[in-house]
């Protein structure tokens, strides 16, 4: 009567052997070591902090775009708001670092809730326009007020003495990333994640299942804003500076667009892919510099017509990075919709105790991307 997959029926539950556990344990240990290594450096760990912050932004945006299906083109606004509030409460009221960052989170969450309220009435393409305009508006108005920028010279703050080292701050960032990653995991295996996925695909069905669409959309925006605000606080303390120019156009919207590219290239709805993509885009400027100025590259790269302009000014690194990002985006959209996440799936399944398989039948990731559509 019904179409049945015989392989599923025949599949036995997979049990981990002792060797399997040991191998995976070793893999986790290796990962931990690699993550820890930058602690020994000073400049590189600062770059790595930025990479981790980008990864956090990826997780934040993923909740709204990947899990809830709404395209947000103004997320630099939340990052900046977190930085603005954190830096200013420290600068003006001398609040301790943890309290300052909490306030940054709350501020970003509050504004995200407002955007969420808008999202209840306006969806799809029109919502993405609103988010674009929102990003522009808030970064050019609120962020630029003299009182928040210490009269346009940038708010300077300092990390507490026990975190003065760049390497130490990097570890704080990594700890936050791991915590948020775990939170995201809990999100997806709980009723909240299921509710978001249901309402992303079919609001009527979600309601028939008892899911209040209003509440959950607001929860998604609030959560996304909170994580971005947290990233903003980390960002402010990383550079020990809040400068509105970091978030204003054209840097601002370029950053917002880059975050979207990150999410898509990482694989919408795939938290590991999004984190890896974020790390990649955060590190790429450094990597490009190292590549272009490497002893074995520079002599001949000078003569390559298009790329040789890289050496004219060091602001070029970020633009070549966004070009690479755009190319990766195109490749992902056309050839590999599941993004990095789909590519990494065999590995991530293995790490979580499953058999190593190149093709997974219950692969929902790609279809999740196909399912979303923009209604105008």
């Amino acid at each position: 009567m019904t179409a049945v997959s015989t392989s599923t029926a025949a599949r036995m539950p997979y049990r981990l052997s002792g060797a399997g556990v040991a191998a995976r344990g070793l893999a986790y240990l290796g990962l931990g070591v690699v993550l820890f290594l930058p602690w020994f450096t000073t400049d590189f760990s600062k770059t790595c902090s930025l990479a981790v912050i980008y990864a956090l932004m990826g997780l934040s945006l993923n909740i709204v775009v990947g899990y809830t299906g709404q395209l947000s083109l103004g997320h630099q606004g939340f990052l900046g708001l977190g930085a603005l509030v954190t830096a200013n409460v420290v600068f003006k009221a001398n609040l301790p670092i943890w309290l300052a960052m909490t306030l940054g989170v709350l501020a970003a969450m509050a504004v995200a809730l407002v955007l969420g309220l808008v999202a209840l009435r306006i969806t799809g393409l029109y919502l993405s326009l609103i988010t674009l305009v929102f990003g522009s508006a808030i970064t050019s108005s609120l962020f630029a007020l003299a009182t928040f920028t210490d009269n346009n010279s940038g708010v300077k703050i300092q990390r507490p003495s026990y975190l003065a080292d760049n390497g130490d701050w990097y570890l704080v960032c990594v700890a936050v990333l791991l915590a948020v990653f775990y939170l995201d995991y809990r999100l997806t295996i709980s009723k909240v994640g299921r509710a978001l996925l249901a309402l992303k695909e079919n609001e009527r069905v979600a309601e028939a299942f008892g899911i209040g669409v209003t509440s959950y959309k607001l929860i998604a925006f609030a959560l996304s804003g909170a994580i971005a605000g947290l990233a903003g606080g980390l960002y402010a303390f990383r550079g020990e500076l809040y400068s509105e120019k970091d978030f204003q156009d054209p840097n601002g919207f370029t950053l917002a667009l880059l975050f979207v590219v990150m999410c898509v290239v990482g694989g919408l709805g795939n938290r590991l892919g999004v984190v890896v993509a974020g790390l990649f885009f955060g590190l790429i400027n450094e990597l490009l510099d190292d590549f272009f100025y490497a002893g074995w590259v520079k002599p001949w790269m000078h003569h390559v017509p298009f790329l040789s302009s890289y050496y004219d000014s060091d602001v070029k690194a970020s633009y070549l990075a966004s070009l690479i990002g755009a190319l990766l985006l195109l490749q992902t959209l056309i050839f590999n919709r599941g993004g990095l996440g789909a590519q990494l799936r065999p590995l991530s399944r293995w790490m979580t105790g499953h058999r190593f398989e190149l093709h997974d039948e219950s692969d929902a990731g790609i279809a999740a991307v196909e399912g979303s559509s923009v209604r105008a």
Binding site: M1, T2, A3, V4, S5, T8, A9, L183, R186, L187, I189, S190, K191, V192, R194, A195, L197, A198, E201, N202, R204, V205, A206, E207, A208, F209, G210, I211, G212, V213, I219, E361, S362, D363, A364, A367, A368, E370, G371
Partner: protein, 284 residues
């Protein structure tokens, strides 16, 4: 007390009066059928009753309580289970995930606890999975447990949708054409299943149906809708030969419709000719 009491339900879309003063009652443990030609307003009625549309006039009472303006997700929590005409499920998720999602209203832990985790969440999640497995077993769908819903056949989807509606722990089930896409054998099985479910879970049901044998075998009472208006109501056997109902389906006036069920002289002549031709063919 009646489970569902709909009175004077009316809704207008632009120039079209989709529902006009609809009144129906579903009593406890009844299986009530809602039939009528395509476009009669049956699904519209469902949407109004379950809260997806806001009716212009009228009232919906659930066990005496006015739920006319209650939003759909709250109705689900109250005990309204529903299926949709174009199979309503989360296509990109697995069957198991869908069944767990369907139990959303029954989950005890709140959002924050869900995010933080802990023993209680794990225990409840396990319970959700067990309930899901129980439903799958009851419907004979264990094999598709971990498959993505989007790739399944239509017949499986319809059955699954019923399973999701059951997962919401409903008091009253509103099924929109549960037998669509099914052949006579499958429809018959569905009918048996519905009766069994009523017995096992003490359910009350309201069915939109086109399949006459199913309506006959399963429904205690039938309402007929045409052009948004109640045309007739009564026992299925009575409705089946009700002249106006037949006319509505076949098109034409009542006396002609009755006449069509009698063989005319022309029909007899045609039968003889056909029989003769067949004999010739067998002979040759």
């Amino acid at each position: 007390m009646s489970v569902l009491d709909v009175s004077g339900l009316s809704i207008r879309f632009g120039g079209l009066q989709a529902l006009d003063d609809l009144t129906l009652t579903v009593n406890e443990f009844e299986i009530v059928g809602l039939i009528g030609p395509n476009g009669a307003g049956k699904t519209t009625a469902f949407n109004c009753i379950t809260g997806f549309y806001k009716a212009d006039r009228g009232q919906v009472l659930y066990r005496g309580q006015d739920v006319t303006r209650t939003p759909p997700h709250k109705k689900a929590a109250m005990g309204f289970g529903r299926t949709f005409q174009n199979v309503g499920m989360v296509k990109s998720s697995t069957v198991l995930e869908n069944l767990k999602t369907a139990q959303h209203a029954r989950v005890q832990y709140d959002v924050v606890t869900g995010l933080l985790g802990g023993g209680r969440v794990a225990t409840e999640e396990r319970a959700l999975a067990e309930k899901a497995d129980a439903i799958l077993e009851m419907l004979g769908l264990q094999d598709v447990r971990d498959l993505r819903v989007g790739g399944l056949s239509y017949g499986t989807l319809k059955l699954l949708e019923l399973g999701c509606a059951l997962a919401t722990e409903p008091d009253v089930l509103l099924l929109d054409e549960p037998s669509s896409g099914m052949g006579p054998e499958e429809s018959h099985q569905l009918g048996e299943r519905l009766l069994e479910l009523r017995r096992a879970f003490g359910l009350t049901m309201l069915l939109i149906e086109h399949h006459v044998p199913l309506v006959l075998s399963v429904c205690d009472h039938v309402y007929v809708l045409n052009f948004g208006r109640l045309l007739a109501e009564g026992k299925p056997t009575v409705i089946q030969t009700h002249p106006e109902v037949v006319a509505a389906y076949l098109g034409g006036e009542a006396p002609e419709a009755l006449a069509e069920t009698h063989e005319t002289a022309e029909d007899e002549a045609l039968d003889e000719a056909t029989a003769a031709t067949r004999k010739k063919k067998r002979g040759a």
